[in-house]
Symmetry: C2
Subunit: 365 residues, 2 copies
Amino acid sequence: MASKRLLLLPGDGIGTEIMAEVEKQIAVLNDVAGAGFETETALVGGSAYDAEGAPVSDATMALAQAADATLFGAVGGPKWDGVSYDKRPEAGLLRLRKEMELFANLRPAICYPALADASSLKREIIEGLDILILRELTGGVYFGEPKEIVDLGNGQKRAIDTQVYDTYEIERIARAAFDLARTRTGKVTSMEKRNVMKSGVLWNEVVTRVHREEYPEMTLEHELADAGGMKLVKAPKQFDVIVTDNLFGDMLSDIAAMLTGSLGMLPSASLGAVDAKTGKRKALYEPVHGSAPDIAGTGKANPLAMIASLAMGLRYSFAMIAEADALESAIAETLEAGIRTGDVMAPGSTEVGTSGMGDAVAERF
Amino acid sequence: MASKRLLLLPGDGIGTEIMAEVEKQIAVLNDVAGAGFETETALVGGSAYDAEGAPVSDATMALAQAADATLFGAVGGPKWDGVSYDKRPEAGLLRLRKEMELFANLRPAICYPALADASSLKREIIEGLDILILRELTGGVYFGEPKEIVDLGNGQKRAIDTQVYDTYEIERIARAAFDLARTRTGKVTSMEKRNVMKSGVLWNEVVTRVHREEYPEMTLEHELADAGGMKLVKAPKQFDVIVTDNLFGDMLSDIAAMLTGSLGMLPSASLGAVDAKTGKRKALYEPVHGSAPDIAGTGKANPLAMIASLAMGLRYSFAMIAEADALESAIAETLEAGIRTGDVMAPGSTEVGTSGMGDAVAERF
Ligand SMILES: CC(C)[C@H](C(=O)O)[C@@H](O)C(=O)O
Ligand SMILES: CC(C)[C@H](C(=O)O)[C@@H](O)C(=O)O
C-alpha cells in the first residue's frame, strides 16, 4: 500500500482535543517506525456549518473519498440546536457514511480489566467481556424516503420516517458478520423485530439463507431486538458477534458500550466494500462517545476511544497488525499503571487530563 | 361503577398457568370483599389461531371492547414460527391494542428490595428504583403504512416499514406523561432521535409545546433515545417518568425491566382515552415478560407480574385503590417472607411453583 493518507475530522466539542492526542500517536508511528502517514485536517459538524455553511462541505467530502482512512472525532452540541434539520451537525456524519457507502459499522464492546469497577454492572457479569456489535450503517430508517413532516392543516402535522432494507444490503452485512465471527468464536446473533416489522422478516430470512448457503460451519442465533437488549443487560458474555440494523444497532451498541464501564475507551470502525480493482476499502474511524459539550475546552476529555479508533484504522485500513496490537497494549498498560482521566478515576489512581493521557499512551507505544 | 366485567385472555405458553393464579386473587376479592367481578375467558395468540383460525377472533374482539378491563397473559412460541405474518400470535395483541385505541402503555420499572440482588447491576445503582416508562402504543412503526415486502426481481426484495406520528398522537401521550408525573416527582424525560428522525423532530416539538402551554410547573427534559438508554443503564434513578414512542418504548422498557432484576414481577397497563360520556376508559393489563415457551407446562413460571397486572387494573380501571395497595403489599410481603419461584431463587429462600406462589399471595391478600 503506497499512500497512507489520513483525513482528520476533529468536529465539535471535545473532538479537537482528543484528535490532538491521536496526532501524537501518529507522530510516534512516523518518527519511530517510519510509517509515512500523511495527514490533512478539515472541518465537520457544527464547526463546519459555522465556517463553511454546511456540516460537511463538498471539498471535505472529496478529501474523505480520496483518503485511505478518515478519523472522525465527534459532532453536535447545544449551540446548533436551532439549525435546520438539513444542516444540523449530525447531517455531516450521515453524509460521510452514506456517500462513502460505509455499510459495516464495527463496535467492539470490551471491558478493560482495569476499568471493570467503573461499570454499573456487577464485576462478574462484565469482567472479560469482549463482544462485537456489527451495525448496518447506510440503510434503514436513517436514510429511507419519505422522511418528512407534512402540514395537515388544523394545527396537525404528520411526521414520517421510512425503514427500508433491500436483500443485497442485508446480504452484505450478514457476510461481514460471518467473516468477523470466523476470526472470533464463530457465533453470530442476529437481532430484529420480525414479529412487528416487515424489515425484520426480510432481515431474518436473508441472514438465515446466507448462513445456510455460505457459512454453514458457523453458529447463527436469532433474537428479537427487545429480548436481545434484555439479554445484553443480564448476561452480555453469552454473545460474540451481534449483527443488527442501523437503528437497533445505534441503541444496542450504545447500551453495550455503557455496560462495559469503558465508554470513553470504545472505538468504532465504519467500513465500505473492498474494491475489486484496488483491494482498498473506504473507512472511517470514530469513538462511540459523543462531543461532550459540557466538558469541551476543559482539557478533561478522555482521548482513549479516539486513540483506540486509530488502532482500528491501523488494523483494518493498513493491515498494520503489529502496530495496532502495540497501540492497544499501550492503552491497556496506561490504564493498568493507574493513569486515568476524570471519567474513569478510581481511588489510588493518578488523574491526568486529555493531554497527559495522550502522552502516557505515546510513551508506552 | 356498576359492572365489573373482566375479560381474561391467558394466551400461549405460561399464559394459562399464570392467569390461573390471577383467578385466585379475583376469588379473594369476590369472596372476602364482595367485589362482584364477573370474568369471562377467551383465546388469544397461537392458541386462538389453532382453535379459531385467527390470533384474535372478531368475537373475542367484541368481548374485549365490551369488558371493563382485559387481563392478558402472553402470546407466541416456536410452534407458530411458520405462521403467516398476518396470523402470527403477536398480531392478536397488536389488533387488541390498535382497535381498542390503547395508546398509553404504562410500564413501571420497580426494584423490589427483596430482589435487588437478582439484578445484574450493582445493588446501590438499582436499590429503591421506581421509574415509569410511558410508551406510545398505537402509532409509530408498529402500524404505519406502507408495511410490506416487495419483490424487485433478480432475487432482490425490498422490505418497508413506516414510522408515522401525527401531532394529536404525540399530544395525548405527552399529556398522559405529565398527568402521571403530577402524581410522582413532577419530572418527565422525553426520548426520541430528533437528530436522525423527522418523527423525533415533531415529537420533541409537540412535547415541548404541551409542557409550555399546559404543564409549565412540571420539569421536562429531553434525551436522544440512544443516550437515554445509556443513562438508564448507568444511573436509572435519575429518571422518573420517561415518555417515548412505540418502538423506543419497546426497547427501553424491556431494558429498564431487566435492570431491576425483577422482570418476572413487572406488570403493565395499556389505557385508552377516558370517554367523556361514560367516564370509562378501555384498558388491557399484561405482564412485561413473554410466554416463556421453554418452561410452559412445568408449573415453574413466576405469576407475580400477572398478579401485579391485576393490581394495576384495580387501580386504573376500577379506582379500587385500597385493594390495589393491598394486593401489591401481599406481593411484597410474599417476597420478603423468602417465598420465591425458580427465576428469582436466592440462598435461604423457599422455592415454590406457580401455584404455590399464587396461594402465598392470596393468603396475604
Ligand atoms: C450522531 C448520530 C447521528 C449517530 C447515530 O445516530 O448514528 C450516533 O448516535 C452514533 O451512534 O454514531
Ligand atoms: C409481543 C410483541 C408484539 C410486543 C411488542 O413488540 O410490543 C412485546 O414485545 C411488548 O413489548 O409488549
